[in-house]
Symmetry: C2
Subunit: 146 residues, 2 copies
DNA sequence: CATAAAGTCTACTAGTATTATAGACTTTAT
DNA sequence: ATAAAGTCTATAATACTAGTAGACTTTATG
């Protein structure tokens, strides 16, 4: 059940963007700055941020003084949205996916034991990632620091 | 968050073995029989069952009339044990793994937002897979059939 | 207007993991 | 003796992952 580096870097970057939105006047930060802070290869991060941009989760400004910033308030962006953009469906098997359902090949889905359990797992993950926003994360981090 | 074919096939095979333990006098079944029922490539399944055997979850009998059977009553085998044997740790990132901890590289683990959330995800998955036994699954399947 | 800072876009590559397949071997019942 | 069954190790084909490269566009500013 591993999170890919792509997903990990993307989530870390988004958490930074949320922090910047809250604590910097412009709310903007450059790729290389995020890359330096989190030790993420800059060129790799570039692709990830681009994907997040195409998904409408961040906006960017080109040219001198440009950078990336969240497309919406951090409380309106869930980790589920970020995860799905970068790593695809949450569900362990396609036949329990809400966003990308496909049959699994079991003769009867309704009585497939594996499917039942994986459905529970999917829901448990979705319950966390779809209700946790970037604002939630920032709040927890600040609480842990205090 | 995808389940590998290896993990999927292994879990399906174990559910069959639990059913066989409950409903057949010998409690034993052959690879090719499981392979046929679930449309799993026989040679692939062979390796998977071997891994489960080396992990002590199933026993086998060689020769004519041989086959595989559960090493313990189905209520003493959790899906978590099976999953970990075939697919490794449940945790999305190593730094929240109970069974295979490794640092992630964040400067301070205690205040890492990603780590907090992934810890929750790990616990949610573990809560399901470590409390669900093969017996649980069989019961649910029978309830769904009725 | 030249320049440098910044993002955009696409292609590529090395390494690793996944999903098998093959085949020679061992054990056991009949 | 034979055939049914599991054991074990090697290999192959493919896909995926993580990362690199480089040419391009946009924009602020001296």
């Amino acid at each position: 059940m591993r999170l890919s580096k792509r997903g990990e870097y993307g989530l870390r970057a988004m958490i930074i963007l949320a922090d910047v939105q809250k604590n910097s006047p412009t709310g903007m930060i450059q790729i290389k700055e995020i890359s330096a802070r989190e030790e993420i290869p800059a060129k790799f991060l570039e692709q990830i941020l681009l994907a997040l941009k195409n998904a409408g989760l961040v906006h960017s400004k080109m040219g001198v003084g440009g950078g990336y910033y969240l497309a919406r308030p951090s409380k309106e962006i869930t980790l589920g949205q970020i995860f799905r953009t970068l790593d695809g469906p949450l569900a362990p098997v396609k036949c329990v996916s809400q966003m990308a359902y496909e049959p699994c090949g079991c003769p009867d889905e309704e009585t497939c034991g594996l499917r039942m359990v994986m459905g529970d797992v999917r829901n448990a993950i979705a319950n966390i990632l779809d209700t946790t926003t970037l604002a939630t994360v920032i709040k927890r981090v600040e609480a842990a620091r205090a």
